[in-house]
């Protein structure tokens, strides 16, 4: 994944010593990690969570967890992959906590009134924002972050076929909202 490469090259060569310093509790090292990954972590959280505030909380929780669990990072994969996994779990946990908002019925009801105002063709950001939370999380984790259905299922505590059906629902909705025109 190109994004992951870009992010890891940020810490290139230095990652090992930074991790070692975080392990012994060096706050300056934790800050280096924070600065390197705050944007991609926030972006992931913001794309998955409904509000900026939720995404900010996920950002904070992710780095606290990184500090607390850095001992579990074995160095066998890229550091960003490990941090991203922590961030994804935290974002999904946040969704579960807000679950009462996330049923299609509720969602559709809330939007039914405004449906006439919906422009014939939405832009991608708006369409993504409009997806039900679970579908949006799955489409983001699968299509952008590159997780498999098996990995998503594990993180969500669901089955891979649940993840698959959420993905196709997301795409069916995006397809309808983005319109017939060829996307440039």
């Amino acid at each position: 994944m190109t994004k992951a490469l870009a992010v890891d090259s940020y810490l290139a060569g230095d990652a090992e010593s930074v991790v070692a310093r975080v392990r012994v509790g060096d706050p300056a090292a934790l800050e280096i990690l924070y600065r390197a990954y705050e944007a991609p972590v926030f972006n992931l959280a913001r794309r998955i969570c409904r509000t900026v505030e939720d995404a900010e909380d996920v950002l904070q929780e992710t780095f606290f967890e990184v500090y607390r669990s850095i001992g579990q990072y074995r160095g066998d994969g890229p550091l960003w992959g490990w941090v991203r996994r922590v961030a994804s779990s935290k974002a999904l946990m946040r969704l579960r906590r807000n679950k009462y908002r996330d049923t299609d019925e509720l969602f559709d009801e809330a939007h039914a009134v405004r449906r006439e105002d919906t422009p014939l063709r939405m832009d991608l950001e708006a369409a993504l924002e409009r997806l039900p939370e679970t579908s949006r999380a799955v489409v983001w984790l699968h299509d952008v972050e590159g997780y498999t259905h098996e990995e998503i299922a594990e993180m969500m505590d669901r089955t891979p076929s649940f993840s698959k059906s959420q993905l196709s629902r997301a795409h069916a909705k995006l397809r309808a909202w983005l319109g017939e025109e060829a996307l440039t």
């Binding site: 994004k3 012994v24 509790g25 706050p27 934790l30 800050e31 924070y34 600065r35 705050e38 944007a39 991609p40 926030f42 972006n43 913001r46 794309r47 900026v52 995404a55 900010e56 950002l59 904070q60 780095f63 606290f64 500090y67 607390r68 991608l124 950001e125 993504l128 489409v139 983001w140 299509d143 952008v144 698959k164 059906s165 993905l167 196709s168 629902r169 795409h171 069916a172 995006l174 397809r175 983005l178 060829a182 996307l183």
Partner: protein, 200 residues
């Protein structure tokens, strides 16, 4: 001819690993409509990946660092068996988090009582920490000494201010007490950072 469902189109992307995807792939080859739909799908994904990276509106590192410090204290208190200070740990969060969270609405005299209690708890914590640390390195000694000097100065200020103030206006001392708690807090940190680094 039946066109492909979204699920089947998605499966074509991972042809080989998905059951039934070979047939779908064969269909795409002969059906221009489904081929176009698959193309749209690929483009949609490409555009999702190309969305700009959203950046956090505020710097949250201070909040992360505060939580780390709080966590370290609790861990230290637990390991060294300073059980009586479980309360201190929760008070400490109030101190540490003060700048980060909106302070609870309380009248000045209540606030003064709270801050004085925090100060006393920190004092007790420091005594315990000092007595459990046999050796102190030069860095800790230096950092602690300058904080202790300032605390001594502050205590002097507090003493003379207290003599000039009537009990009714004691809440005017709140800023001084707050500063004292802040300094004590930093002092606890100096000792605990060292304790953490030597693996206590």
């Amino acid at each position: 001819m039946m066109h492909l469902t979204m699920e089947q189109l998605l499966a074509v992307r991972h042809a080989g690993s998905e059951p039934g995807s070979a047939e779908s792939q064969a269909h795409v080859q002969v059906c221009p409509e489904c081929a176009a739909e698959l193309d749209r799908l690929h483009q949609r994904v490409a555009r999702l990946r190309a969305l700009p990276t959203l950046r956090p509106p505020r710097d949250r590192f201070a909040a992360v660092a505060a939580r780390v410090r709080h966590d370290r204290r609790q861990l230290y208190f637990r390991r060294t068996g300073i059980g009586a200070l479980a309360l201190a740990a929760s008070l400490l969060l109030a101190v540490v988090g003060r700048d980060l969270m909106a302070p609870p609405a309380a009248n000045a005299s209540d606030q003064l009582t709270t801050v004085m209690a925090e100060s006393a708890t920190l004092e007790q914590a420091l005594r315990q920490i000092r007595s459990s640390q046999q050796v102190t390195d030069a860095y800790t000694t230096r950092a602690a000494a300058s904080l202790e000097d300032r605390i001594a100065e502050l205590d002097h200020e507090l003493e003379s201010a207290q003599m000039q103030t009537s009990p009714a206006t004691r809440s005017e001392l709140l800023p001084l007490w707050r500063e004292r708690v802040g300094l004590m807090d930093a002092l606890v940190d100096v000792h605990l950072t060292r304790a953490h680094n030597v693996g206590l």
